[in-house]
């Protein structure tokens, strides 16, 4: 049955597709045959030829319409009309290039921005982690030192666990110029748990993270290419990492970026139970794991909680009972991207608003055009075009525009994504995975179609309400449906409201960032340049040699031309990874079941406080005499308040747990924002202690710090300082991170400032588009009423009356838009609260300033059309009509 049908119909369809001209000729011939036959028969009955012709014509009706309906009988007709509409659309758009260009560009900006941000959101938040069976990967929201992890690894049954300590710096030597690289310390199972095979070599074997079997290193693909020229023979070779010879066992594939993209080398933890401090108080490391078959996240969490209750007793010193108390086991994906979820969602909401505003603008434009084309549409309707046909044509036009906008938008998005990646901080998780793949392109295509239908609906609705007769009778001049004007006003109000919301969001972030940057960090970062010095083990194996090297280095730098002072410190404020020690304090007894408080230990040369410009609240700073004399310490002001709230701590004593000698407190330094611009230390740190850099200044591993940072007070630019320091450093010692202290601080607010800049740019775009919208609507209203204005003027109205007439229109639109925008922002801004510092999401000052600014800007956009209304020459207007 079906087959038989195809036998008859297939040739017809084929002909409709291929032999269009033939089909048309057949149709002509068929109808002509009918008409001629009829005429002949009438003439045969004695009707005069002219009369016969006339009569047949009226009998038959509109020939073209009959033909059109014959064409519609063919299924190919749909393709045909589409092609025709397209041709017509391209012709009309070609004839109004300004309109087409503005519409396409606006859409391209909107679609491009959305596509770029979406590719980021998709690849960071939605796409699975690039590890096999990544759904089984979990993260424990708690951190553990080496010893606790070693216990945990052996006890857990529900999951295999691994730890990593990020943010380490290693100095590679024994192969050309020594190189300081970012690296991570890891447990042996990390790669196996993630399930990533190395590109070359092998995984670390179990227990290969225990001293002394831990003399191995794994290189990143990038480091391998750069330092070893991609030589596959490096596996099995030995290089010195921080002076310790290690065998290169593997090179990871290029896509492996764990824990972050800047990690260039991985070395094992080096578990050593004999070094109590290093084993129990070293890095506190996050734990990841892979659930074993059949185990659930809940079971793993229960197990870790049980372990947590047992491990406290195993520490060599009492631990606070609430340490890691609210731990949970969460999917690894959530743990990795949790911090960027809100900022990214804010971004996509922002670009969404921009696109909405862009759509409203294009809708306004097409509405203006539809108004001008009322006559054309009326004529087409009179010729027999159905409303559906006209609607379809208008939609084709809009979809053509949005398709062009989409293609251009995708091109813009490739650029935009590169800019986004550059603007966002480099440690944004998974940022390198973002790319314009087919999913993102699909998103762009859907976006283009949705926007095309979105702004295309407006003129379609308008034409449906158009009354044919009135338009034709009025010569296409009045007849402007009130509906359309109301719709346009609505669009404008929505635009202003969206704009206000975006600007308020940007304003809140800017104010928050400003408040944050305005915080007094506790030192004077101006005119300080810092550099990290990483001596080889040969230099620092013997503490005395290390100290001698640093002392002469410090003197050499200090006496350099242009240098006002130089000092050494083990960790600069706001750079993380600060040494930790538990402290016993004279006159302070920890609560029962609470351990000795954990302190941040800052090891400094005596000049440090002067060079950094830190205030000493009481007592004195270190002097060179302290390096050799009795052991001393300086504590921070908040530490003093916490442990000696009622008495003067100067002269009191403190002792590092695990050591015998007591240190005398000689001074109290003002608090420094050591963790970031918001906090001086993370919550688990009880206090901050400074000690002079001498042989007793040991950190967790029982040794004195060998990597130090030199802080140089100078007006010289960072590049000159780099050269100056390099010239005073022996060749085999690596020098890295030469940067201004201002940049160190700026890096801590890199994420919020990137978000602020991006949202600021969107807000600017939104306001610009919004102004164009307001301008467009008012211009349209003025041009519609220009005759009325002319008459009013002719009848004696003053130009300023007209000014008020137009201005009032604009003011009402703005007022309503701003009011709605503020209401919307009050509701929506609560999502911002986690990104704000120092202000509430409903900060009245920001709202007031934004409302005022937007009002002023939109009023300016009203000015030009208003002026045009005032300059109406009644003579010209009335003559033209």
């Amino acid at each position: 049955m079906r087959l038989q049908r195809w036998r008859y119909t297939l040739p017809l369809r084929w002909r409709a597709l291929i032999g269009r001209r033939e089909v048309e000729r057949d149709l002509d011939d068929e109808i002509r045959d009918h008409i001629e036959s009829r005429i002949e028969s009438l003439i045969a009955r004695g009707v005069p030829p002219d009369e016969a012709r006339r009569r047949v014509r009226s009998e038959f009706g509109a020939v073209d319409l009959a033909k059109e309906r014959c064409r519609e009988a063919s299924p190919m007709h749909v393709v045909d009309t589409l092609a025709k509409d397209l041709r017509y659309t391209i012709r009309t758009l070609w004839r109004s290039p300004a309109f087409a260009a503005v519409a396409i560009l606006t859409l391209a900006l909107g679609i491009g921005a959305n596509t770029a941000v979406f590719s980021l959101v998709y690849n960071v938040l939605i796409a699975r982690l690039p590890y096999p069976a990544s759904g089984n990967l979990v993260s424990v929201t708690a951190t553990y030192p080496n010893g606790a992890f070693a216990m945990m690894r052996d006890e857990l049954r529900a999951m295999d666990a691994a730890v990593y300590a990020e943010g380490h710096r290693f100095t590679l030597s024994g192969h050309g110029q020594p190189l300081n690289v970012f690296g991570a310390r890891i447990s042996a199972e990390l790669f196996a748990i993630l399930g990533v095979e190395p590109a070359l070599g092998r995984w670390p074997r179990p227990r290969e993270d225990e001293a002394p079997r831990d003399r191995i290193v794994v290189l990143s693909h990038a480091l391998w290419l750069r330092q070893f020229g991609g030589n596959p023979g490096v596996v099995g070779r030995s290089i010195a990492v921080d002076g310790v010879p290690r065998e290169i066992i593997a090179v990871m594939p290029p896509a492996f970026v764990f824990p972050s993209a800047r990690t260039q080398a991985w070395i094992p933890l080096g578990l050593d139970p004999t070094n109590t401090t290093g084993y129990w108080a070293g890095d506190y490391m996050p734990v990841i794991g892979r659930l074993r078959p059949g185990a659930s996240r809940g079971a793993a969490e229960a197990e870790v909680r049980l372990f947590q209750s047992r491990v406290l007793a195993r520490f060599p010193w009492p631990m606070p009972a609430e340490w890691n108390k609210d731990l949970a086991v969460v999917p690894l994906h959530d743990a990795m991207v949790g911090g960027v979820r809100t900022p990214l969602l804010i971004l996509i909401a922002g670009v969404g608003l921009v696109l909405a505003i862009a759509c409203a603008n294009v809708a306004n434009l097409t509405l203006s055009r539809a108004a001008v084309r009322e006559r054309e549409i009326a004529i087409r309707t009179a010729m027999g075009a159905t409303p559906w046909r006209i609607a379809r044509h208008l939609l084709t036009e809009c979809l053509t525009l949005s398709a062009c906008g989409g293609v251009l938008g995708v091109l813009l998005a490739t650029r935009g994504l590169a800019v986004l990646k550059r603007m966002l901080p480099a440690d944004t998780p998974r940022i390198n995975e973002a790319a314009l793949d087919w999913r993102v392109l699909t998103f762009a295509a859907v976006l283009a179609i949705v926007t095309g239908c979105g702004f295309g609906l407006a003129p379609v609705l308008q034409t449906r309400r158009m009354r044919l007769r009135s338009t034709l009778e009025a010569g296409g001049r009045s007849g402007g449906p009130a509906v359309a004007s109301r719709f346009r006003r609505l669009l404008t109000v929505a635009q202003i409201a969206c704009g206000v919301m975006l600007v308020i969001a940007a304003g809140l972030l800017i104010r928050s960032l400003w408040l944050l940057s305005d915080v007094d960090p506790g030192f004077q970062p101006r005119e300080i340049v810092t550099a990290r010095i990483s001596p080889t083990l040969q230099v620092c194996e013997v503490p005395e040699r290390c100290l001698t090297f640093y002392r002469s280095f410090e003197e050499a730098v200090e006496s350099a031309p242009g240098v006002r002072g130089a000092a050494l410190v083990n960790t600069l404020p706001m750079t993380g990874a600060i040494a930790k020690r538990s402290l016993q304090l004279e006159g302070f007894t920890p609560q029962p079941r609470q351990g000795a408080p954990l302190f941040w230990l800052t090891v400094v040369s005596p000049a440090y406080f002067d060079v950094m410009g830190m205030r000493i609240e009481s007592g004195r700073v270190f002097t060179p005499a302290d390096l050799a004399g009795p052991a001393v310490a300086i504590i921070s002001a908040s530490t003093a308040r916490q442990f000696w709230p009622t008495e003067n701590p100067i002269g009191r004593h403190v002792r590092f747990i695990g050591e015998t000698g007591w240190r005398t407190i000689v001074g109290i330094a003002a608090d420094v924002r050591g963790f970031d611009l918001k906090r001086s230390a993370p919550s688990f740190i009880a206090g901050i202690v400074y000690v002079p850099y001498n042989s007793s200044a040991t950190v967790e591993n029982g040794r004195i710090p060998s990597e130090m940072t030199v802080a140089i007070r100078t007006a010289l630019p960072a590049e000159s300082v780099a050269a100056l320091v390099r010239a005073r450093t022996p060749g085999e010692i690596a020098l890295s991170d030469v940067r201004r202290m201002d940049d160190v601080i700026a890096a801590t607010v890199a994420a919020p400032s990137a978000l602020t800049r991006l949202l600021g740019a969107m807000a600017a775009l939104a306001v610009t588009l919004g102004c164009i919208g307001v301008y467009g609507v008012l211009s349209y209203l003025v041009s519609r009423r220009i005759r009325e204005f002319g008459i009013r003027l002719a009848l004696g109205a003053q130009p300023r009356d007209l000014l008020w007439l137009v201005f009032r229109e604009g003011a009402v639109l703005c007022g309503v838009g701003v009011a709605i925008g503020i209401a919307g922002a009050t509701i929506a801004s609560r999502w911002l609260s986690s990104e704000l510092h120092g202000i509430t999401p409903t900060d009245p000052t920001t709202y007031a300033v934004v409302a005022l600014a937007i009002s002023v800007v939109t009023m300016l956009a009203c000015y030009i059309p208003t002026r045009r209304a005032m300059r109406v020459d009644p003579l010209i207007v009335l003559r033209d009509s």
Binding site: T9, E30, I31, G61, R69, S74
Partner: protein, 110 residues
């Protein structure tokens, strides 16, 4: 201009198929025949005859051949296909059933 109002919707197809079942005809002859056999009761405007014919052709129920008339014009003659014959049977049956049902309703005595 749209559907002939005096024709029950859908019956035009049936009439056309029936006429063409008797002999192949061109459009003009079909319109003449329509008027003749229905004694001018059923008027189909010529403007809607052709779209209807084209629709039937697209369905595969009628097929067209071109002949040259004595006046040397190209004329399109339609004839019923095998598919069309089956369709005609179906529609005739439907129509008879419908007509009978309606007649019964109309003749009801209340």
């Amino acid at each position: 201009m749209s559907k002939p109002q005096d024709l029950v919707q859908g019956t035009l197809d049936l009439l056309l198929l029936k006429i063409l079942a008797l002999e192949p005809l061109n459009g003009y002859a079909i319109s003449q025949r329509l008027q003749q056999i229905s004694s001018d009761e059923l008027r189909v405007s010529d403007g809607s005859l052709y779209p209807a014919l084209h629709k039937l052709e697209q369905e595969g129920w009628i097929v067209a051949t071109w002949r040259t008339t004595e006046n040397n014009r190209r004329a399109k003659y339609y004839s019923l296909s095998r598919l069309g014959r089956r369709q005609l049977e179906r529609e005739t049956e439907n129509w008879t059933r419908l007509a009978a049902a309606i007649t019964r309703v109309v003749n009801l005595r209340g």
